[in-house]
Subunit: 357 residues, 2 copies
DNA sequence: TACCGCAGAGAAAGCCCTTTCCCGCAGGGA
DNA sequence: TCCCTGCGGGAAAGGGCTTTCTCTGCGGTA
């Protein structure tokens, strides 16, 4: 690999001059030398060693991002927002997938710190886990103590800058909608219990139902992975235990899609026999059939805000921005059926082998 | 930020010893010193500067990946495969989104080279663009000349290791299926003309039709962006020009989903009135309604192969692995309707405002 | 003519690690 | 007793770059 001194030697100048030409330093260099250097760069296909540069330069530029999984649409949208701002400011993003493994999350904080990122953004639900939270906060504090900036998206346990989707109100809106449609027997397909996102959304939902004199007993909640298969499976369990259900709230859209698959496999018509509500409003939500009624979160905007916080001029006080949730009515939620679906679910009629796999 | 010498000083040892403890060097260190060093590390919250490490160590470990967009399911799946192998081998992945901008692709090759990656993987279609291809190959050659390994996924213009999905056969299978179902008036919703993936798939499709004495005139092909909205829009144009169509082949699943949205908005029943075929078999394909009949590509496996090639022992001859495409029959492709759909499409009946937006 | 100032180039000091090389010391064999 | 060996530790040399500091030589001023 050609080095700067190779270039300098070939151009017949000192490494200092070569460096100045290559970086467009403010220090003037005569045109003749400049051209000789550029020629040498081209001939040698020289590319500066980024690590050496970052070591020699004092200022840090890259930004680290830790998400559950970039390919999960929820995080893909957030990342899109992050990218937009970062690119505008000429920042490189280092994106890490934690796959919701707390240990990996901790490791990535270290890794990114080691890579000298200027800021760190953690996106995705927090955990109901004292020990982990404390550990994480210690690590983040240590990082902040050395001048690093931190922002979190969707988790409340951090004391610094934060962007918070209003999960609780979102859950409340979902509950209100279903109550308005006359539903009483409402099941919930929930994400992992340990995630604060799950409990926040659940809390809002429960509040809405309680206010309407309805209940949300634990037996009508099933916890599973926050993805399509988790939703499909939880829905099946829910239906098996309680065939009287007239509505299902899935705590994110992926789970809702799984729920739809299970319902389809069992021959239950949505929304005629049973209503389904999602959460997040991922792009695919409008393209499933029936199109998903869901609670929209401004995902891209959440990313934009978080990155702006972190790259903005250092605010003295940590800022928390709460972004509103909003109900999007599409086709999966309808009025409660008039007749009791007494026999529904008792004769599952699989339409396709792979629908619920 | 604490440095290694800070740690060493605090532990009362030399930086060399501290380094050995921290990296688990093979050189033995007495337990007493080891503990002193570890204590100092903990107290100072020391994290080694990754750039300094990479500069000091000779061997390169990270692998660079350039894809169109990780959040596009096609690339998300490939990336999953890449990750799997990389993680097994303790390699860090640097993933860059080119958003199908050739210039950005070139820039990222430089960037990753500058970051001293041990290997480079380019995933995603090549371009019908001589100048760009030459430039790219020059850059890659320069990189390979310095010991870097390169593999491409799904593009044939590179001379080194490659993993190739059999796009042409995939197109052929799609054509065969539709011919078998009796279709003659077949429209194609294609990706950008400039992509080799588009032309390869199209070539296979055309071959199948030709063998069956059918035709695929240019007027039945619409080129658009390789995404949902592109598919929706191209389908609309296709239908406007030729309402007699009994089948539509979308050249990837995202476009197929857009096509379904347009057909739904126009009140055309799939597959009773018109059949739809997708390509790729992204995870969502089975969850749309009707479930998408499509050509499956072993996306995850493509990633696994590519990473294995690049991390495997340096083979003397460049290897090209062709991975087979396979037809997956679901619910969007049916026999050609018996009656001519003379009036269909003339009375579009929008079901929802946002279906085609 | 002597001196000053400045433009433009190079020398060299880091940036933070890893790793080779070397040194001192203790123990074992002759 | 002396020498050799081997172990544990430190000194120091990079690794490739940026940047400050220094130096040279020129034009301009007194």
């Amino acid at each position: 690999m050609a080095t700067l001194s190779d270039v300098a030697r070939r151009a017949g100048v000192s490494p200092a001059t070569a460096s100045r030409v290559i970086n467009g330093s403010s220090k003037p260099v005569t045109d003749e030398l400049r051209e000789r250097v550029l020629a040498a760069v081209a001939e040698l296909q020289y590319v500066p060693n980024a690590h050496a540069q970052l070591l020699a330069r004092s200022h840090r530029s890259a930004v680290g991002v830790i998400v559950h999984d970039v390919s999960d649409p929820y995080f893909a949208e957030i990342t899109r927002g992050l990218q937009r701002v970062a690119t505008d400011q000429g920042r490189l993003l280092m994106i890490c997938n934690s796959y919701r493994d707390p240990d990996r999350e901790l490791e990535y904080v270290e890794l990114l710190r080691g890579h000298q990122v200027a800021a760190l953004i953690l996106a995705g639900s927090g955990y109901h886990d004292e020990a982990f939270t404390r550990q994480l906060n210690e690590k983040l504090a240590a990082y902040e103590a050395t001048g690093g900036r931190v922002a979190v998206i969707g988790r409340h346990e951090h004391s610094g800058d934060a962007v918070m989707p209003d999960n609780r109100t979102g859950g409340y809106l979902a509950g209100q909608e279903l109550c308005g449609l006359g539903h009483r027997a409402i099941g919930v397909v929930a994400g992992p219990r340990i995630l604060t996102t799950t409990t926040d959304r659940l809390a809002g939902l429960r509040q809405a139902l309680t206010e309407q004199g309805r209940e949300l007993p634990e037996r009508r909640i099933r916890y599973a992975e926050f993805d399509r298969d988790g939703g499909a499976e939880a829905t099946a369990r829910l239906l098996d235990a309680d065939p009287e259900l007239t509505a299902i709230v899935a705590l994110n859209d992926s789970m809702a899609i799984g729920a739809l698959a299970t319902l389809r496999a069992r021959g239950l018509a949505v929304p005629q026999q049973i209503s389904v509500l999602g959460f997040d409003d991922m792009p695919i939500a409008r393209d499933v059939t029936p199109a998903l009624t869901t609670v929209r979160l401004p995902l891209v905007d959440m990313g934009v805000r978080a990155m702006s916080l972190v790259l903005g001029v250092g605010a003295p006080t940590p800022r928390v921005e709460v972004l509103p949730a909003e109900l999007v009515r599409r086709d999966t939620a309808g009025p409660v059926p008039l007749s009791t679906r007494a026999t529904a679910g008792s004769a599952p009629r699989a339409r396709r082998g792979d629908s619920t796999s």
